[in-house]
Symmetry: C2
Subunit: 403 residues, 2 copies
């Protein structure tokens, strides 16, 4: 964590050496964690907006449990259901209208990262009188209106959304899927309830996609910077933990211990901790999200499809880190190998693990076609925090290799 | 992170599987971090109680910088100085009287862990009308009075006190040094300012003691439990980071990057994160603190003096973890060795590193004598979270080996 190190741009210098950290979300973790909802509800007003997705919570009983607790607590509840995997700006506007009419004192998200993201976007939009898409996703401004508190009950893992201030929203008309990580910690959920049992019933495809999302969140923050800092050691620890537990869960999805470790790792993979004191990359997300906006594919799978072509492309620019990754995360033995060979062996190990989990290894498996490529390229934001600032030609090349 | 695992006592079962986590302290990190004090001061009332130690902050200019910011912010400032390395109950009572008379709205700690600990003990004692020693350190109760907010400006590293709710207080008459980690997150500092530059002038002895304190905080949370969970991976990462940076700082104490990594690792070594989902040990602290109460020696050095005798004693009861420690933290090659040989090699590597840093390797170097042993044994609280619940005879044996 150097005080001053020159890197790309002045903005980045400030991020590298000096930073602030605050993460006030209260987490309740474990198979009894829903018991604490009642205490949390007591801290907020009467009007609760319950937000959820496609209705799986009605099948598995979580909806009934939660609404019973809300009823006992004397809350007046309004609902927004049908929040989609890539929540749209139209859905956000619909939620704003419902929340205003209800006078929501608390937004209670029950679902995975998309439902949490949507709820946070809602929390800064209900009291804003302009167009939230323009303000938060085009101009990337912070809210200056009152923020409605958000609480989360997680039913899927992967995104860390339960403990950060990020919210990804899609604008299908503009073919854009954009994530805004707000600086204001008041946008982080006030509380999040994490019950690993809820994740046991998830289909294997969704479980695997969530695991890869976790892993990639860590990679995005790890593959950047030349300095040797504590954050990179913690990132390696989280990667080793999720690889270990994913192999157990892949064979036995009912292994509570493995699923609980995956759930906890997911939270710490993207709650701002491991990016402290360093630049971050996020190009896999930019590529994957652009593909996701056109195909509506599962987020984690879009990341899996573009990762190896991207990492093999940037490997020469961050060779020392890819070599460290190979040795510290994958246990690659360096003896008798060049640094490039070590680095490539690490990516080969990663590829084996990805195939073992049954991840999607190409965009065409997700419905993307050659014809879509120009739009996916156009929708890819190019960031400058990683080892190589891509040209548009390189973006096109990587996406073509990912097909 | 198992849902339910039997271990010693029912209290422990609850800690293992299910837990809550909340750490709202806002951290400002870097060589410009004091700039943010002004913003934080704006959130509290006019009366500030400035708490510091032996006056080194007057020599190095930090006192002048801080008081100038307080003056510009229009604060009315009262001071408590001379907070000792092992803050006493008498000093606490003195602070209570000063804080009450001043009507303190904010307690501002400027110093290391002792000053932060003292300030937090003060924060729960000012508005309590009974004896804080009895309530918080004998009965281990939580506060039911109003808590005065605490802010910290760190000048030394090691204790994590800047981001936790713990406070160690010594009662010299009773020959007891007791730490209470409060459950109430409102006792955590509201903000902490971490400027690695402030730590550059610390004498080598204090730097080394602080580094060992960090390392041991991690060990205390790592050497416990039989399950394989994310917390242990993070603990290993923090250990590797502090070993790496300590070797750089030991050769060149002016290396800002190494000192900043050490400072950041210290915070995460003891801010509740790496103990989530598992039991913890803390017997090295119990042994070291008891010796410290009699010798008034530097905390980190008392831990260093008792560590290896303790770990070699409990090694057979936690063999798998000591073997993992040897391989994952110290890079011990397991080939052709028994698990016990691997484990012992890890402790041998640890011993070499401790000697390299110039740590105190025996209690007699700290002024302890054979005659003091019965009192040190009597003052050692025996905890039940580690691999072996010690008998009093074992405590005596380990302390004798540590002499």
């Amino acid at each position: 964590m150097p005080a001053v190190k020159y890197f790309n741009s002045e903005r980045v210098i400030i991020m590298l050496g000096n930073f602030s950290y605050c993460n006030p979300t209260k987490l309740y973790f474990g198979d009894d964690s829903l018991e604490f909802l009642k205490d949390e509800l007591g801290k907020y007003g009467k009007n609760v907006l319950l937000v959820y997705g496609g209705g799986s919570i009605k099948k598995n009983g979580i909806y009934d449990e939660v609404t019973e607790i809300l009823r006992s607590a004397g809350k007046s509840v309004e609902e927004i259901s049908g929040v989609m995997p890539n929540p749209t700006i139209n859905k956000l506007n619909e939620g704003v209208a419902v929340a205003r009419k209800h006078g929501a004192d608390l937004i209670l998200a029950v679902g995975g990262g998309s439902v949490c993201d949507y709820s946070k976007a809602l929390s800064v939009s209900v009291n804003y009188n302009g167009d939230p898409w323009q303000k938060y996703y085009i101009d990337f401004e912070e809210p200056d209106c009152e923020i409605i508190p958000v609480g989360c009950i997680l039913t899927m893992v992967g995104t860390g959304s339960e403990m950060n201030a990020g919210a990804v929203i899609t604008n299908p008309e503009q073919k854009l899927k954009i994530g805004h990580v707000f600086a204001d910690e008041r946008i982080m959920p006030r509380f999040s309830i994490l019950n690993p049992k809820y994740t046991l019933t998830l289909p294997h495809y969704q479980m695997a996609a969530g695991i890869y999302d976790i892993f990639n969140h860590i990679c995005e923050q790890y593959f950047s910077g030349e300095d040797d800092n504590t954050s990179d050691y913690i990132a390696e620890a989280l990667m080793k933990s999720v690889i270990h537990s994913s192999r157990i869960a892949n064979k036995n999805p009912q292994d509570y211990e493995a699923r609980s470790n995956i759930m906890w790792t997911a939270t710490w993979a993207l709650n701002t901790l491991i990016s402290r004191g360093k630049t971050t990359d996020w190009m896999v997300h930019m590529l994957g999200q652009s593909a996701g906006a056109l195909t509506d594919a599962t987020h984690g799978m879009t990341l899996a499809a573009v990762s190896l072509p991207y990492y093999r492309h940037i490997l020469p620019y961050g060779l020392a880190k890819f070599s460290r990754f190979a040795q510290n995360v994958w246990g690659v033995c360096p003896n008798g190998k060049t640094e490039k060979e070590i680095a490539l062996d690490g990516l080969a190990e990663m590829e084996s693990w990805m195939k073992e989990l049954g991840l999607v290894m190409s965009l065409s498996e997700l419905g993307a076609t050659e014809e879509m490529l120009p739009d996916i390229v156009n929708g890819t934001l190019i960031l400058d925090g990683g080892y190589k600032v891509l040209t548009t030609e390189e973006v096109a090349e990587i996406l073509k290799e990912s097909l």
